[in-house]
């Protein structure tokens, strides 16, 4: 499933004295099976842009095509598009509205008029995908869940609609390290095992570095940069200028390189960084630093 955005602009509160242009002439294409990180300072337009991907906003200027279907076209079935492109809002646990985990996750399939058997099958499958044990959690009261569990339940609820693309708006915000790790594992699994196309909005550069293969950077309502994760994060000065940072791994490597150690400066994970430093020190010749 591909998403194509052409010359998209957007105004908030159009036609009122508070009208404000928040997206400026956006052009991009997301291919089937991609893992795209969408980053940018607060109010840069990343959420507004992403909410155009499944018709939460219908374009008035420019076009958005999902699998070739123009979202502004009256013939396009927007409800179907919203099932195909699942959207996990920021703090999605605020939207859990049924009493139990099972009932909440069943909502989308029931809404799609799935049979009881099919609904149950999907609930079971999606709980397993997000790592919530069916027997333990199916009847669990939503209020008895931890923060990380609630968020996984909310993601399962979106997955139960069987989307092909999953858009997640800052899915780890406010979670403790273990909860964060659990969510990232779930997202990685959906991408690798289910081959889902992922759009991952995040404020944590280390998470984006680890997860995404391509990054789109938004600033002041426009695309500031679009490229592979390594390319984007190698431009640390440009990112700092707009209030973003670079992952700490790259920060460390850039500082080492500046001090004369020959290391790669585009390492995205802790493991890559350890290997890069080890090789860099070995390459110095002699036995500096070695036992």
């Amino acid at each position: 499933m591909s998403i194509v955005v052409e010359n998209l602009s957007h105004h908030y509160k159009a036609g009122t004295p508070f009208e404000k242009k928040v997206l400026f002439d956006i052009n991009l294409e997301i291919q089937d099976g991609e893992f795209v990180g969408l980053i940018g300072p607060t109010q840069s337009g990343k959420t507004t842009l992403a909410q155009h991907f499944n018709g939460l906003f219908i374009p008035k200027e420019g076009r958005v095509l999902v699998n070739g279907h123009n979202l502004a076209d009256k013939a396009t079935d927007i409800v179907k598009i919203r099932h195909q492109v699942g959207y996990v809002f920021q703090n999605p646990e605020n939207q859990l509205f049924k009493e139990t985990v099972g009932e909440d996750i069943a909502f989308a399939p029931l809404n799609q008029k799935c049979s009881k058997e099919e609904t149950n099958r999907r609930v079971r499958e999606c709980m397993s995908l997000v790592g919530l044990d069916y027997d333990t959690f199916f009847k669990r009261d939503i209020f008895a869940l931890s923060g990380g569990q609630k968020r996984r339940a909310a993601i399962a609820g979106v997955l139960a609609g069987y989307p092909e693309v999953l858009v997640l708006d800052d899915p780890t915000a406010g979670l403790d390290p273990r909860g964060r790790e659990e969510i990232l594992e779930v997202i990685g699994r959906l991408h690798q095992e289910k081959e889902m196309t992922i759009v991952f909005i995040s404020n944590t550069m280390e998470d984006v570095a680890r997860m995404a293969k391509r990054i789109i950077v938004m600033n002041e309502g426009a695309i500031f940069a679009d490229g592979t994760t390594r390319t984007i994060f190698s431009e640390s000065e440009r990112l700092r200028q707009i209030g973003l940072g670079i992952p700490e791994t790259i920060d460390i490597m850039q500082r080492l390189a500046a001090r004369g150690l020959r290391v790669p400066t585009d390492t995205l994970t802790v493991e890559e960084t350890i290997d890069g430093i080890t090789a860099g020190l070995a390459g110095k010749g002699g036995d500096a630093g070695w036992n």
Binding site: G40, P41, T42, Q43, Q90, S146, G147, G148, D170, A173, G174, L175, D176, P177, R178, G179, R180, E181, N203, M205, E206, G243, L244, G245, E248, T249, D251, I252, R255, L256, R259, G260, L261, V270, E271, T273, I274, I277, T278, L281, K284, A288, G289, W290, N291
Partner: protein, 279 residues
Amino acid sequence: MEKLIEVKELTFIYNRGTKKAVKALQNVNLEIMRGEFLTILGQNGSGKSTLARHFNGLLTPSKGEVYVDGISVKNQSQLREIRKRVGMVFQNPDNQLVSTVVEEDVAFGSENLGIPPDEIRQRVAWALEALNMTEYRKESPHQLSGGQKQRVAIAGVLATRPDCIVLDEPTALLDPLGRKEVIDAAKKLNREEGITVVLITHFMNEAIESDRIVVMDGGEIKLIGTPGNIFDQVDLIRTLGLDIPMATQIAIGLRQKGIKVADHILAAEELVNSLCQLL
């Protein structure tokens, strides 16, 4: 050093006496010193916020005592005195802004304390300056970035001239620059104004410059120590659902490969300096 907040055998039960009763804190003992920068870490639901909400009497103990500057938070008639001493800032800046102009917003808390207008003006100017927000004083808070909004919220608390500011996950919803702005502001208030800071966070990097770290789990304090001490206990920290700072992780990996990196590495800069000494 002088004690500012003293927690003695504190137990707290939500919905006490009902079927939904949940014990959130169990026999917690803690002393927070005047001028200290203390970080509280712990998983969601470990009791961090419940504990912190006792520091200015938002919650009162089910058992035990919490004293602020010697005053028991159970003493409801002294609540105003307690809140003059300890102010709180929460996660979502949008829920804490009450006015349409930054300086009015910053004045709000002091107005409620019945401070004369002339003095409020001085305090607001001082608080905005301390948070580097003076140039935005006439603007609408809603136009500001997340980090700026959060600094307005902190300035509002600062203007009441508290002894202590409690920051409950102030950076959870902010972008990287906003996060840095807020943490730098907290450090500056601690260092330059002598404000006692209690920071609750899920970002390990924000804890590394604290004087002490408290680690909570299941309503109890599991560990108290300096950042170097706490993050040395890698396995225990991970068992408690937390993590260690990224530079520390890299240092450990390098040590396993036989590279002689210094002990107690917490910050990127420390790691870089240690490695450069090997060259």
